[in-house]
């Protein structure tokens, strides 16, 4: 049986292959990455794109939600102050309706209520980072303006538009309540109408008590209405926090999944590297031993 005289060449080829193998394993170990090219694991590469996409979306939502939380908190505190002011106005009006006051006392009540009205107006025109938060979507200019007429009227120049923030799992969180809905509600829920009426009532010398009482009642129900509107803002805040937490934990899980998909298993790679190096050494010894002598060396 004949043998290939150049088999040492094949051994050298095998040695090259073993060295290449060692090189690849060392680079995998040093970079810590298992999937260094698309062909190393095509499915993992594809899966990786989707995981990174999801992780980046979660990241972006976390940042947006802290932005939005700030805005909602400003709205919430503004409405809280409005409630405080209106409570004060109600107690002033009630005291003016008990029949013990004279015209000048009632005038001073009217002035105080006008002051409260100005405060509430300023709060209704709150802005956050240059945009008016109770204006719906026309938020580049103040939504509420007080006319100079007597009795004064308040006009709303915003719209009814509500913005929503979409969470990564599709939930929609309300970001604002239009000012007209809070302050200019239908019927007895109109804060400004009630305040304007009361100011008008107490400014006249002869107050129509029945009118004043019904206006005070209207103010009371408007106050409750404002409190209710505040609840939807608080709800949004709660939802944002919950969504943010859910997204954070999802991100942790995704990070773990992506890491285990793409990162090298250090123990396994180290073992393979050690085996490859052993093989290399063995091949080198074999090649050295076999040498390239022939029968010619033995003949004289």
């Amino acid at each position: 049986m004949r043998v290939d005289p150049s088999y040492t060449t094949n051994l050298v080829g095998a040695l090259d292959q073993a060295q290449l193998n060692s090189q690849q394993l060392s680079s995998e170990l040093s970079s810590g990455v298992r999937v260094t090219s698309l062909s190393s694991d095509p499915l993992a590469a594809g899966e990786n794109v989707l995981l990174l996409n999801q992780m980046l979306q979660d990241d972006s939502f976390t940042q947006s939600s802290s932005l939005v939380s700030g805005q909602l908190q400003v709205a919430d505190s503004a409405l809280g102050q409005v409630v405080g002011q209106l409570t004060q106005a109600v107690s002033l009006a009630t005291s003016a309706n008990n029949g013990t006051m004279n015209a000048s006392d009632r005038q001073s009540i009217a002035n105080q209520i006008a002051g409260i009205r100005a405060e509430v107006l300023a709060l209704a025109n709150s802005s956050y980072q240059g945009q008016y938060i109770f204006a719906g979507s026309i938020n580049s200019s103040a939504p509420f303006t007080l006319s100079a007429t007597t009795p004064a009227t308040v006009t709303y120049s915003g719209d009814q538009n509500v913005n929503y923030l979409k969470t990564p799992n599709g939930q929609r969180i309300q970001l604002n309540v239009p000012g007209s809905q809070i302050f200019s509600g239908a019927g007895a829920n109109n804060v400004f109408a009630a305040l304007n009426s009361l100011v008008a009532d107490y400014s006249t010398s002869a107050t129509d008590t029945a009118q004043a009482v019904s206006d005070t009642t209207a103010l009371g129900s408007a106050l409750n209405f404002v409190s209710q509107q505040r609840v939807s803002i608080d709800n949004s805040l709660t939802q944002i926090t919950a969504a943010s937490n859910a997204v954070s934990s999802e991100q942790t899980q995704l990070t773990a999944a992506q890491t285990s998909l793409m990162q090298a298993d250090v123990a396994k790679v180290a073992t393979q590297l050690s085996l490859s190096e052993t093989q290399q050494t063995a091949l080198e010894d074999v090649i050295a031993q076999i040498g390239s002598g022939s029968l010619f060396d033995k003949l004289h």
Partner: protein, 489 residues
Amino acid sequence: MGTISSAFSIITGALNADQGGLSIIAGNVANANTPGYSRETPNWVENSPIVINGHTYGAGVTETGATAVRDRVLEQRLDQQQQLASSSGTRLAALNTLQALFTPDSGSASATAGDIGNDITSFFNSFASLEANPGDNALRQQVLSTASTLAGDISNAASSVNMQRSALDQEAAGVATQVNALTASIAKLNLQIQSFSPTGDAGSLEDQRQQDLSQLSQLIGINQVTTENNGLTITTTSGQTLVSEGESNVLTTGKVNGVTDFFVGGTDVTAQTESGGGSLGGYLTARDQDIPTVLGALDQMAFGISTEVNAQNAKGIDLNGNAGAAIFVQPQQAAGAAETMSVAMTDPSQIAAAAAGAGSGDNSNATAMADLATSGDPPILNGLVLPGGLALAAGQTLLGGLTPSGYYSGFVTTLGSTVSQVQTENTAQNASVVQLQTQNNALSQVNLNDEASAMTTLERSYQAASQVFSMINTLMAAALNLGEQSTVA
């Protein structure tokens, strides 16, 4: 005739024959490392015996030359396997360069520069961020800068792929020159072999021809047909004649539609050469199959994203109260959209975050833009009229019903699988080549041990013959001196 002088001539013949044998062995040892050399063995032929008056007298031995030890069938099989290995090897090299453009991002933190998948996500995330505060200029600027990064990376990838295509084109054209040189050489050798040894093995000429054939089969897919008088006809795997007897046909190149095509005579053989094997086959497969697939996917992605985003922006109102302008330069068709993808909008206030009819603080159009990343069939596509005038039917999408990230994910998986498959094929084919090469070497390569023992044998037989010669010489002298004392010793 059984005389002493005839014995002389027989032994002289033997000495010559042994010398001839030794020179052949010397030739073998001298050429032990010559590539393509097949070891030669001497031919010993017994001379025809002479019959005189019914008595037969032997006439000795003649060494009639050398025969090269080769197995034509084995060599052909080796050539065919080298064709395949060379083809897949060349294609693999091209594919590795191609896939290096899309190396997966292994980090899990923020986006790695240049990764298209992350760019897509960051771009659509900028709209999601805009939902929180549509009037914020910094967030709007972010939309434009992520758009610009996305367009830049996609167009860079596309132009790299196009550059690779030209490089492959040039390399393929270069192969044609080498092929022509080899076919010309084989044709010449054919003539020489046919005139020199039409019936037997042609020794070193045959070796040279086999070397040329081996190199040729690594370049282009060929079929070999042995003809009469030791001739060889070589055709491409699809049947075009490259070499016939002493004539060789030139493989010419010419530009067709911007790429190099190959012709034999007047026939365009590009498509057949692509599937034929050899490195030319590998280059052409990479150029005409793999690269168009990748470019097609990039183009479709660029076209889909640009068109959807522009259409959705046009549906909304920007900060100035106008309908949204185009964010990306609108491509007219998918072909070529990737390389020319760029951002047209420079003023961030033109991003239409608000829906039509709402004030500028509305974010519903920004939400719709962000939804383009999560929906495979967003509402904007329903009935959308493409730049060519074609309107999309219900349910028809630009990205195969996938989200942009999903489309990119599918693309990288497909590319990775192709490369992986070619890698496996190439490894298997290389192993097969090594095996066949080993077999061929075992048969045809000079084994110094064999030569040493053959040399020793011939040496001994030469020694023996020369001993016989001196003995016959003594006999001759004795015969001449029959009975007489003389000077002849």
